[in-house]
């Protein structure tokens, strides 16, 4: 049911791990729903120079995490924020319909990590801190329905 590209990124995930001196870290998902994605970004001069992830989840969750880190590397913060869940899914040659929420998770993880970065450098107030963090299954599911 998975594309070859999904299976490739699942069996040989790129950029697994943590970045010790990351300046943007975001975690989305919920153990209750069966997937959590934690993304570490290293941003220098507004450019994402390194990205790593840790994921608890299904094959699609691991593959989208891997692809998302690949997609953000080398991009400016603004470019990275424009990466949509569809772009992540398309880069993997598609995902089965029931797995589309995993690609939402990847998009949210990028946004959450960048939000954290902006907060750290004072571009964002604590109270503006985003809604990307700690999304619940229901929210992710609703996003699915909206698609």
């Amino acid at each position: 049911m998975y594309s070859e590209k999904v299976m490739d990124h699942f069996s040989n995930p790129r950029n697994v791990g943590e970045i010790a001196d990351a300046n943007g870290v975001g975690q989305v998902g919920n153990p209750k729903c069966g997937d959590i994605m934690k993304m570490y970004l290293k941003i220098e001069d507004n450019i994402i120079v390194d990205a790593k992830f840790k994921t608890f989840g299904c094959g699609a969750a691991v593959a989208t995490s891997s692809m998302a880190t690949e997609l953000v590397k080398g991009k400016t913060v603004e470019e990275a924020l424009r990466i949509t869940n569809k772009a992540v899914a398309e880069a993997l040659d598609g995902l089965p319909p029931v797995k589309m929420h995993c690609s939402n998770l990847a998009e949210e993880a990028i946004k959450s990590a960048i939000e954290d970065y902006k907060r750290r450098i004072g571009l964002l107030n604590e109270e503006d801190a985003g809604n990307a963090c700690g999304r619940r299954c229901e929210d992710i599911h609703n996003l699915d329905d909206a698609d």
Binding site: V16, K32, G34, F56, C58
Partner: protein
């Protein structure tokens, strides 16, 4: 292509045994007669069906005329529950079942609820066992049916069927058991166990798919499901799938003959697997009762990892297994069985079910036991939950 396939998913389905296939083959092109036809070709088919019926009856201690062939275990479950419910509606509208039944039972019960029936879903303990006392306490004057599975398909727990049967008989309530996972693995006698209706499915004991049977104790009030010709003594119309019926008959006969030997073999594999996994992998939980358990069933939760990922990695190593994770069910919730035994969602997501069968060897199990710890470790190292726990 993988150079090996180790099939550890016998609770999902089993391969058709060569002897079974051989018995079936003549009934496709040579002895193809319709069992309702009067000429010898038809009579030959009729005879083959009746032989299969005798074998099926003998395997569960029933009379031949109490066996009705169906298209599947699911059909047998639907027929038993809806048939008894509608035939006894004047007597009452209450049905007792459990929270861990197969969906063929649960969704049928839910359907009946939408049609004015009342259903009690009994809870189970942490090992998946129903206590006979809770069954007794749930019986009301309007209770017409108790339906409790013989053995659970996911965690392998075997219910105290004899004790429940005794209570049902004493209270004058019909007792149905979904024995789809039990037949071929456990010795069953419908009289000794006071079972009034029993569902079984051939493909779980090395017979073909698409054929099952419902045992209906003589005198049970039950409506018919399929109306048409006079097949199955007028209770289940449809031209018989003769080859499949023959396959079921052959498979259940072989299963009954071999049950002791088969049990011994599976128990050795099961117990070795359970002991080794508990010994070699930290943060695991055995799901299901340790002793009142199907001989081929192993079900573990591995904390901090998700079941589908585990299955995909095992598949890459040539091992076919199953999980109760949401991702394998196509919904967002993990298995209702694992939740009913009290597992938190995140632990339920990380479950692995291994079910052994006839063709499995100790060497195959050793390969699994060599392969599994590294896969679990690899996924844990990728997991942010493990990161937190490790600290």
């Amino acid at each position: 292509m993988k150079d090996r396939l180790i099939y550890l998913d016998h609770a999902a389905t089993t391969p058709v045994k060569p002897e079974v296939l051989e018995a079936m083959l003549p009934y496709f092109s040579q002895k193809f007669g319709n069992a309702s036809s009067i000429y010898s070709l038809g009579r030959e088919s009729k005879k083959a069906i009746e032989e299969a019926r005798d074998r099926t009856a003998a395997a569960i201690g029933a009379q031949s005329k109490e066996i009705f062939f169906t298209g599947s275990g699911t059909e047998a479950d639907n027929w038993a529950i809806k048939g008894v419910a509608y035939a006894n509606r004047k007597k009452g509208n209450h049905i007792i079942t459990t929270a861990i039944e197969h969906h063929a039972i649960l969704h049928t019960c839910q359907y009946l609820e939408s049609d004015g029936f009342e259903v009690t879903y009994l809870p189970v303990d942490g090992n998946g066992l129903v206590t006979p006392d809770t069954v007794r306490a749930a019986i009301k004057p309007n209770t017409i049916l108790i339906t409790i599975m013989f053995a659970n398909n996911e965690i392998g727990t075997i219910q105290p069927i004899s004790e429940i049967g005794k209570i049902a008989k004493e209270k004058g309530v019909y007792f149905h058991t979904d024995a789809v996972q039990a037949v071929g693995n456990v010795k069953i006698n419908v009289d000794d166990m006071n079972i009034d209706l029993l569902s079984l499915s051939a493909h779980k004991f090395y017979g073909p798919k698409g054929i099952g049977a419902l045992y209906i104790r003589k005198g049970t009030k039950i409506t018919s499901f399929l109306h048409g010709g006079a097949q199955e003594r007028g209770r289940r119309a449809s031209t018989e799938n003769v080859a499949a019926v023959v396959g079921l008959g052959k498979a259940i006969e072989l299963a009954s003959q071999n049950v002791d030997e088969y049990n011994k073999k599976l128990l050795a594999l099961r117990d070795h697997a359970i002991e080794e996994i508990q010994k070699n992998i930290p943060f695991v939980r055995l799901n299901g009762d340790r002793t009142s358990r199907l001989p081929g069933n192993v079900n573990f939760s591995f904390e901090f990892i998700e079941g589908e990922s585990l299955l995909l990695m095992l598949d890459m190593k040539g091992i076919a297994a199953s999980s109760g994770s949401a991702c394998t069910s196509g919904s967002l919730d993990p298995s209702h069985v694992l939740l009913a035994i009290g597992l938190p969602h995140e632990i339920a997501h990380g479950s692995l079910r291994l079910t052994f069968g006839e063709e499995n060897t100790r060497e195959e199990l050793d390969y699994l036991l060599d392969t599994l710890p590294a896969i679990v470790q690899r996924l844990r190292e990728m997991s942010p939950l493990y990161q937190v726990a490790a600290r």
